[in-house]
Amino acid sequence: MSEIVSHPPRAVSLQRINAMVLRYWYLLISSWPRLLELIYWPALQIVTWGFLQNYISQASGFFAKAGGTLIGAVILWDILFRGQLGFSISFLEEMWARNLGNLMMSPLKPIEFLLSLMIMSLIRLAIGVIPMTLLALFFFGFNFYAIGLPLIAFFCNLIFTSWSVGVFASGLVLRNGLGAESIVWTLMFAVMPLACIYYPVEVLPAWLQYVAWTLPPTYVFEGMRSLLIDQVFRADLMVWALVINAILFAASFAVFLALLQSAKRNGSLLGGGE
């Protein structure tokens, strides 16, 4: 005879988070195209940008000096973008499978659901980005891990931003159905020009620089350039990024809960279609 393990109803359950991670893991390993897709684009990106870096470093004294800024930027951008996609695609899998109603009717709480999506984004990111860094090392001699401890600060800030965007985009899909799916794929690109991935913030018009500094990734990419070009780690930039990330994350979680409530008022949780 089976029994139900009793959890205090308000507690976050690691068992339920594990169950959801297992669900996405089963899905991932059941489909080689899903696995290939995780590796394919990052590999293509690094090869393309790596050769470009090689070419312009031969032609430009600045890039010869600032070796690796392009490749480093590509890898960090991929952490940001793939982190969000890893989160959002796992969420979309529930919409595509029409499984959201089952989950919402189970004891799984929204915070547990979101935590499992974050863990999955890390797993998917590792599958995509680790081969990418190895390619950068073997083909272009750029050792991403030689960045050392600052890399942890860069990574944490980028992954927090990616989760905030992922939580917000997932909320929009939850409320509006799969008709809003394109937001998941494109939202991060709105950040791209303002986050100053491949160029310094000073390149932007003065008024736009204020906007750029409201985005945590701007601090990370500036910090990366400072480290690779001037060999100076700007801890102040990382702290600012962390503060803005905390605000952004809290706001995105609040918006997600509001959109979930709105979906319940609207009756869209059982449908999930267009």
Binding site: I4, H7, R23, Y26, R98, M105, S106
Partner: protein
């Protein structure tokens, strides 16, 4: 108001719960429930109590408000006004206190197609914190004739097999309250009969409460102690199947359904 406190039909059969909750601790209590979607009044001031251990059928045509009512009971749709209480917990405020004791099956949701039956049941078993999960899955698979499909992906099953898997998921936590929306839709008569038989057995062995929405009148006649007929968001009638058929002077619920759907006058209407 349309709340019924006592049954008007025949006495319920032996081993069955009373057709209508007599005022004790009800499994479900719905009071003045209203749901308005923009300009559509999907559910319009309905009230009822469902006794523990009973099987109640929600009958009605398309758009009668059955699915919206069940979704509000589950807390997946927020009411515009009114209140819902399930197993003593206020919905939606206290739903996490009782979700582990409920489960549901609906044609509006699917089990993930790429995962095998065993993987799906394992995940839902863990979500419901079922102990001795492996044994529970094996037992359900044996009960629902799924043993040979346990390691097949859900997407490769027939409609009947998928319905049985969905039922296995709905029973994984041995719920006290089972909410079923069209549990035998799109099944062949043999499989549908088989599912009904299983639900009857489950109710008897677990003293579970079952609320099911259905278009299948034979199913409701056979399974339910009580029938709530809905039309345009309101409760049109509420009694045991026998009581309703007697009042409409009809031999089958299907004939009653057509009377209600087409607005024919009831026998006891002055």
């Amino acid at each position: 108001m349309q709340q019924r406190e006592t049954g008007q039909g025949q006495a319920p059969a032996a081993n069955q719960a009373p057709a209508v909750d007599q005022g004790g601790s009800a499994a479900i209590e719905v009071a003045h429930l209203v749901k308005v979607y923009k300009t559509t009044r999907a559910v319009d001031d309905i009230s009822f109590r469902i006794a523990r251990g009973s099987i109640t059928g929600l009958l009605g045509g398309n758009g009668a408000g059955k699915t919206t009512t069940i979704a509000m009971i589950m807390g997946l749709v927020l009411p515009t006004s009114g209140s819902v209480s399930v197993l003593g917990a206020k919905i939606p405020e206290q739903r996490y206190d009782v979700l582990g004791r409920m489960n549901f099956e609906s044609p509006y949701v699917d089990m993930p197609m790429r995962l095998t039956v065993r993987q799906n049941l394992t995940i839902f078993g863990r979500l419901y914190a079922v102990k001795h999960l492996r044994e529970r899955i094996d037992q359900l698979a044996a009960d629902l004739d799924l043993t040979e499909f346990l390691d097949r992906s859900n997407g490769k099953l027939s409609a009947g097999q998928k319905t049985r898997v969905a039922l296995a998921k709905a029973l994984i936590n041995e719920p006290d309250l089972l909410l079923l929306d069209e549990p035998t839709a799109s099944l062949d008569p043999d499989t549908a009969d088989w599912v009904r038989q299983h639900l009857e057995t489950y109710r008897k062995t677990h003293n579970a409460t079952i609320l099911l929405a259905s278009h299948n009148m034979l199913e409701v006649e056979r399974l339910c102690d009580r029938v709530i007929i809905m039309k345009r968001g309101k409760i049109e009638d509420d009694d045991s199947p026998e009581g309703i058929m007697a009042r409409y002077n009809r031999d089958t619920l299907e004939e009653v359904f057509l009377d209600v759907a087409r607005g024919r006058v009831r026998e006891d209407t002055p």
